[in-house]
């Protein structure tokens, strides 16, 4: 079910501005890969290229190849919509659809793609909410608005919504940065469970979080403001935090800069 990603010679642009340069990276299936680095180093940008969300921004452009189990996501005949069904995404701020109930939010991806069968939707809703550790909290109020939940619950609702369409890869863009420590813990536990079925890539500013949840860590940095971001080093999380090869990585993880 889960699949790995291969990122080769990738350059990413916003219009004429080169935001990220020369990224080469392999993301293993059924594991958690963390992207860390200072603000503006392009880690979120790289993440957004993995499901072709980068090009939603006017002027957004990608060079190089990103392949999912050998299949190039940027090949000419690839439909970005289909890519996003395979590679799901959870955003920094919880963003449930304000017009929809909890139930409708969870099955939004299925329903908006034309699945109408009631029992199928109900099963998917329960399975996804269970998967996101939210079922027990909301099972009695599935018809209440999704926006009425607490921030942590909303974020888990968004995770449930993302896994309801059964993606192969789950991208998380700082999923806990707007949450309190308890909710953060709930999400981190969830990531630990999800990794059995999904390939997870998580962008985080919180290095302890990267150390806690990820198997591999990629450190991004930029030489100076206005310069493109680069992948400095990637490796098993323990190595990155304890014996990084690059000096910049060492400086960053030890808190000497950034």
């Amino acid at each position: 079910m889960a699949k790995g990603l291969d990122i080769k010679d990738v350059n990413i642009y916003y219009g004429a501005f080169k935001a990220v340069e020369d990224v080469n990276l392999t993301i293993n299936p059924r594991s958690v890969t963390a992207f860390i680095g200072p603000s503006g180093c392009g880690k979120s940008t790289v993440l957004r290229t993995l499901n072709r969300m980068h090009e939603v921004i006017p002027g957004g452009r990608v060079e190089g190849t990103i392949s999912l189990d050998g299949q190039d996501l940027y090949a000419a005949d690839v439909d970005p919509v289909a890519v996003r069904r395979t590679v799901g995404m959870v955003f920094q701020r919880p963003n449930p659809f304000p017009t929809m109930t909890i139930f409708d939010n969870v099955v939004a991806g299925l329903r908006l793609n034309g699945i109408k069968d009631k029992t199928q939707l109900q099963e998917a809703a329960e399975r996804s909410l269970q998967g996101a550790n939210l079922w027990n909290e909301v099972k009695d109020r599935l018809n209440k608005p999704g926006a009425g939940l607490s921030g942590g619950q909303q974020q888990r609702l968004c995770i449930a919504r993302a896994i309801a369409v059964e993606p192969k890869v789950l991208l998380m863009d700082e999923p806990c940065s707007a949450l309190d420590p308890i909710s953060t813990l709930a999400i981190e536990d969830l990531i630990e469970q999800l990794k059995a079925d999904y390939t997870i890539v998580i962008v985080t500013h919180n290095m302890q979080q990267a150390a806690r949840v990820s198997d591999r860590t990629a450190f991004f940095n930029l030489k100076a403001t206005g310069q493109p971001g680069r992948l400095v080093e990637v490796g098993p999380t323990r190595t990155i935090f304890e014996q990084p090869v690059q000096e910049a990585t060492e400086a960053y993880v030890s808190g000497r800069f950034g």
Binding site: M53, V56, N95, P98, T99, G109, L112, V165, A211, S254
Partner: protein, 326 residues
């Protein structure tokens, strides 16, 4: 900053995940505490005076703005309510009733106004909403800028110019008669920019995060727009449409030029004159000095106000039933 450099040094010494930096912050906090305590008592007398003055000015402005509104309502209601209470007002037309006669009703004009507003809305809302969707969701570059500019120009066109334009096309060029539909065409020109502008503003208010959330689920753009963006903006769009409708329902210039008054019931948009409330008001105004006509004028004015109010209430209800849930 010695405290910061101390924390850096601490971090260096004890490696990753050290809590040395926290100790450094405590030191900093202690430094602050020795300073003079901040002044938390009430501000100066001058500031309080300014506050009172500002308050008085704002309430006065509000009251001033309220005076004409209350005055209009009072005049129209007190002069017009009597005829509205007669049941014939809502069932009869003015057929065979002279200016000096009492009696008869406004049903012909009410029907005309509702029909024309309905047809105008049915044409303007789709055109306006789709234009706004194009401008917000798709439009980039020159074409979008040109359309946006055109809408600006259109919203500045005086209603009489729109009416004359339709007259020139409909009557002079195409050789048709002055009928209800021609009025609708002129009203469409006036309503489209209102709908475009208000819908555009509402669509812009929909957070981009919702669009991205939908895209990230593998939902195509057009479904994202119809099922996520439009429902989120729905109540705002309805409000804009109602404002546009209220505007065209009270519009008079196109009616005077393209839709002369008649006292008979007329429901065919393509044949004969179609009476409306504004033209009825105007008709009875010309009979000034005749009490029965003056009464009718006030009554039709009140009827028009009530119609717009009713439309607003229906719209509010519609907007509440669907849209953002709280």
């Amino acid at each position: 900053m010695t405290a910061t450099s101390a924390s850096r040094a601490g971090a260096e010494l004890s490696g990753p995940f050290s809590f040395a930096s926290r100790t450094a912050y405590h030191v900093e906090a202690a430094d602050v505490a020795t300073e003079e305590p901040p002044k938390l008592t009430r501000g100066s007398a001058i500031r309080r005076v300014k506050d009172v003055v500002a308050k008085v000015v704002m309430w006065a402005a509000f009251g001033l703005a309220l005076i004409p509104l209350a005055w209009i309502l009072y005049t129209v209601v007190s002069n017009g309510v009597e005829l509205l209470l007669a049941s014939t007002w809502w069932t009869n037309s003015q057929r065979n009733i002279n200016a000096t006669d009492a009696g008869g009703g406004a049903v012909h004009a009410i029907q005309g106004t509702l029909i024309q507003a309905g047809v105008t809305g049915a044409i303007s809302v789709p055109v306006g909403v789709f234009t706004a969707i194009y401008l917000v969701e798709y439009g980039r570059g020159r074409l979008a800028r040109a359309i946006s500019f055109m809408v600006d120009i259109l919203s500045g066109v005086p209603s009489i110019v729109a009416a004359l334009f339709v007259y020139a096309v409909w009557v002079t060029t195409l050789g048709f008669q002055r009928v209800g539909f021609a009025v609708c065409l002129a009203l469409v020109l006036l309503m489209i920019p209102v709908v475009v502008r208000s819908t555009e503003e509402m669509l812009k208010l929909v957070p981009n995060e919702l669009r991205e959330a939908s895209y990230a689920l593998g939902v195509p753009k057009w479904i994202t727009i119809t099922k996520v963006v439009l429902p989120t903006a729905f109540s705002g769009i309805v409000t804009g449409v109602l404002l546009g409708l209220a505007r065209v329902m009270g519009e008079t210039a196109p009616l005077l030029i393209l839709g002369p008054y008649t006292k008979n019931i007329a429901t065919n948009l393509f044949d004969g004159y179609m009476p409306t409330l504004p033209t009825m008001i105007n008709q009875d105004r010309t009979e000034l000095g005749i009490d029965t006509a003056v009464d009718r004028m006030w009554a039709s004015a009140l009827t028009l106000i009530l119609l717009v109010l009713l439309l607003n209430l229906i719209g509010r209800l519609l907007a509440r039933r669907s849209g953002v849930r709280h």
